[in-house]
């Protein structure tokens, strides 16, 4: 049955599937790497053992998540060639060097210092170990910078010309890297990664406090996470709004799809809170809307006219329903995070941060919301770019490799089976690590800073069933 789809559809499903899996791990490891660097720095500064224990606790989780991020990232870097070779030939001269910079300045940094961060505390001394930890964190941020530059260029291309072979030829690298949507995207993504991690860390802290309210390591992680939620969520909402205005300027069709505006509104557009976009009638059915609010948000004026998808040729329109819904999921979760952050701030002010069990329960449930919001955000921006790979210039249908549908179908099935098995297991191991008490009986944690290498393989073999 799957052969009845074209190679293009299958290649798109494959890309969407592998990239969706992949984005989960960077979103987590960007935040977690910075968190680990902060914990390590706090330990060195204050000599408060709680920080060291938290570092060791989260280090193991980071190692598993990072491993999954690496292997799923290698897959991504080759998929451009196997499934989207025409895109690679044409856009390669512009985005290829940016990706090469990502490898040179970020991947090597992370991978080179990861071994020292995980295994080397006692071999290199505290200061170099701190340096390695900081380099891993810096590497994840560099990686995000380059890859968002690439993605942003595909959304808002600048600084290029087109040669006789149809290739994009770089003219001005400054314009290419700092293309119009890049700063907004970068800030929005890095903040999203920090929030994602904060809510995971907060959930783990909440879990252990629900079991033992006196657990001081759980309290510490919960407190740090809630500071993040309180401070960063409002900034993120502001950054998201600025990003939206930028998108309206450069990719209006995407915003029309996000807002569900099939029709133009010459004297002020309503904000559609909920509804079901109908691609047949080109209306939003059962819409609940607030009059004029969309104009106010997007144009900062009640009566400002807003164009709808009726001004865009049908073959250039993105699919509305997916973009409309994914956008609402992202925004909804953002406001839920804001509510939790404010609530925690209020309870902290009243001195009840550690004994409000309902807050702890809610934060526990909110643990995975960052991932969902990040995925929804990426779906909004990537599906909203369709039907183009390079916005307005290169169509997705013209980017495909000369592949036969059965070959793509076979590899797609292989990826789905392997990913569910591998990443299912990884998620299970991460959840089990998170479920372990923060006050661990491991020898390493009680031996202090000198002996940090962890329980030995021999010890592991003897006591493996206890851990795993």
């Amino acid at each position: 049955m799957i052969e009845s789809y074209g190679a293009e559809t299958l290649a798109r499903i494959q890309f969407a599937f592998t990239v969706s899996f992949h984005i989960i791990f960077p979103a987590f490891s960007i935040g977690l790497a910075s968190y680990l660097a902060v914990l390590n720095a706090l330990w060195m500064r204050t000599r408060d053992e709680t920080y060291l224990h938290l570092f060791k606790y989260w280090k193991k989780i980071f190692a598993v998540a990072f491993g999954m991020g690496v292997v799923s990232g290698i897959v991504m870097s080759y998929q451009f060639g196997t499934n989207w070779s025409v895109f690679s030939d044409k856009a390669g001269p512009v985005i290829g060097p940016l990706m090469a910079y990502e490898v040179l300045s970020a991947f090597f940094l992370e991978a080179g210092f990861l071994g020292i961060m995980l295994f080397g505390r006692e071999r290199v001394g505290e200061r170099l170990h701190m340096f390695a930890t900081a380099m891993v964190a810096f590497g994840t941020l560099m990686s995000a910078t380059w890859i968002l530059s690439v993605n942003s260029w595909m959304q808002t291309p600048a600084g290029y010309s087109i040669n006789a072979d149809g290739q994009f030829v770089p003219e001005d690298w400054w314009q290419i890297i700092f293309n119009p949507s890049f700063p907004y995207r970068l800030v929005h993504m890095v903040l999203a990664a920090y929030l994602t991690t904060a809510f995971v860390v907060g959930a783990v802290g909440a879990l252990h406090m629900l079991r033992d309210r006196g657990d001081k390591r759980a309290r510490r992680m919960f407190s740090l996470a809630m500071w993040m939620a309180l401070i960063v969520t409002p900034i993120q909402i502001f950054a998201g709004d600025a990003h939206g205005l930028n998108t309206l300027e450069h990719q209006p069709a995407k915003v029309m799809a996000m807002e569900g505006h099939y029709d133009s509104h010459p004297d002020g557009a309503p904000l559609i809170l909920f509804g079901i976009p109908n691609s047949e009638t080109r209306t939003v059915d059962y819409a609940i809307e607030i009059p004029k609010l969309s104009s106010l948000i997007l144009k900062h004026h009640w009566e400002a006219p807003l164009d709808g998808l009726d001004t865009i040729p049908l073959e250039d329109q993105p699919p509305v329903a997916i973009v409309f819904w994914s956008f609402r999921v992202m925004v909804g979760l953002g406001f839920a995070m804001l509510a939790v952050g404010l609530w925690s701030g209020l309870q902290r002010w009243r001195g009840h941060l550690f004994d409000d069990t309902w807050l702890h329960r809610i934060v526990l449930v909110m643990g995975p919301t960052g991932f969902v919001a990040v995925l929804a955000g990426w779906i909004t921006t990537e599906v909203g770019r369709q039907p183009f790979t390079v916005y307005g210039l290169l169509r997705t249908s013209e980017s495909l490799a000369p592949v036969d549908a059965p070959a793509v179908a076979a590899s797609l099935i292989a990826f789905i089976v392997v990913y569910f098995f591998i990443f299912g297991a990884g998620t299970f191991y991460i959840l089990r690590l998170m479920n372990q008490p923060t006050v661990t009986k491991d020898r390493e944690l009680d031996e202090g800073p000198v002996r940090a290498a962890g329980i030995t393989p021999g010890f592991q073999a003897e006591h493996g069933s206890g851990k795993g």
Binding site: P97, M99, F108, G112, G115, N163, S411, Y419
Partner: protein
């Protein structure tokens, strides 16, 4: 020989691929000789000799692929669809292998499953890399800036031969690495395996070398007509010297020299492939200059490469130095 941006970049990509083979070759090799471990303790030890560095090793594969995409996008766009199946299989194998480094410490009941994932992943990845090499050497059909061959063009007796050769060669690297990094019983056993694998590797390199010139007339003339053959004669001479160094070092019980000699086999074979290829990027039809990106891309990327590659080599060397010497069986952070 034209010394320009495209040429420099071809050299850099070749260098990245060679570094990849040298570095990831031995840690894939660990996976291939993993079944020779007698017990769980030995497996843990073998794994821990590479655990701090495998990640950096594999990054050179991303640089090889990413660099090709960046500066030879046409070659990338032609080669990847042509090698669709071996590349996809290799990636999936690397997924299994890469996660097993962490996963096997996180479970007791499933540990043997991740051990097998590590073995299978390493084996399949090595085999696919060898097959991809063979498929590239035997030539890829190009029309209108795109791959024009069939879906199983990569699968020939020659590519299976090169696939097999790479598996055996990586196993040799893994075994000699363990000779260098371990002590006691496992060390002695790996010395024995190294001897057998060394003979097998040299025989396979010989067979591949004899077969290659007959694949393309260009290769043949490169090797068997003057003045080229004066240069190409150096290759077998160097190989004989390395073989002598390898076997005498093993016989004398040296620990580091067998590994370095085995790496030498790969370096010299790589030079041999380079002699056959130059100035082709994708034989038989795409030269380095036809496949290259515009100069503006090459120059921009080169600035970064010239600054960052030495830096990467420096801190990679530092990481290896931190974890130098024989491995302490009680080490690991898990």
């Amino acid at each position: 020989m034209v010394f320009d941006l495209a040429f420099i970049w071809a050299g850099l990509i070749a260098f990245a691929v060679l570094v990849y083979v040298i570095l990831d070759g031995f840690d894939l090799g660990i996976g291939i000789v993993f079944p020779f471990a007698r017990n769980e303790g030995e497996r843990d030890l073998m794994m821990n000799t590479v655990a701090p560095v495998w990640d950096g090793n594999e990054t050179w594969l991303v640089l090889g692929g990413g660099g090709l995409f960046a500066v030879f996008p046409l070659a990338y766009a032609v080669v990847m669809p042509a090698l669709y199946m071996p590349i996809t299989l290799m990636l999936l194998a690397l997924v299994f292998r890469g996660v097993s480094f962490e996963y096997r410490w996180r479970t007791h009941r499933w540990k043997h499953v991740w051990d097998k994932a590590f073995i299978g992943g390493s084996l399949v990845a090595a085999l696919c890399q060898g097959i991809a090499l063979g498929a590239l050497v035997q030539g890829i059909e190009v029309e209108n800036r795109a791959y024009a061959g069939g879906w199983f063009d990569w699968l020939t007796p020659f590519s299976i031969l090169t696939g097999f050769a790479v598996v055996v060669g990586y196993a040799l690297l893994g075994a000699t690495w363990l000779v260098m990094k371990t002590e006691g019983e496992i060390h002695d056993r790996m010395q024995g395996h190294s001897r057998v694998l060394g003979i097998a590797t040299l025989v396979l390199i010989g067979v591949v070398s004899v077969a290659t010139p007959f694949l393309e007339p260009v290769y043949f003339s490169r090797w068997f007509s003057l003045p080229g053959s004066a240069w190409s004669l150096c290759v077998p001479i160097l190989m004989l010297g390395l073989a002598w160094s390898f076997f005498t070092a093993l016989a004398r019980g040296r620990d580091t020299q067998p590994f370095l000699s085995a790496l030498g086999f790969f370096v010299v074979s790589f030079i041999g492939i380079g002699i056959s290829f130059y100035p082709m990027m994708v034989p038989p039809s795409l030269t380095i200059w036809q496949a290259a990106a515009p100069d503006s891309s090459l120059a921009f990327a080169l600035v970064g490469a010239l600054v960052l590659v030495p830096l990467i080599l420096a801190y990679t060397a530092y990481a290896y130095w931190v974890f130098r010497g024989k491995i302490d069986p009680s080490e690991g952070y898990h």
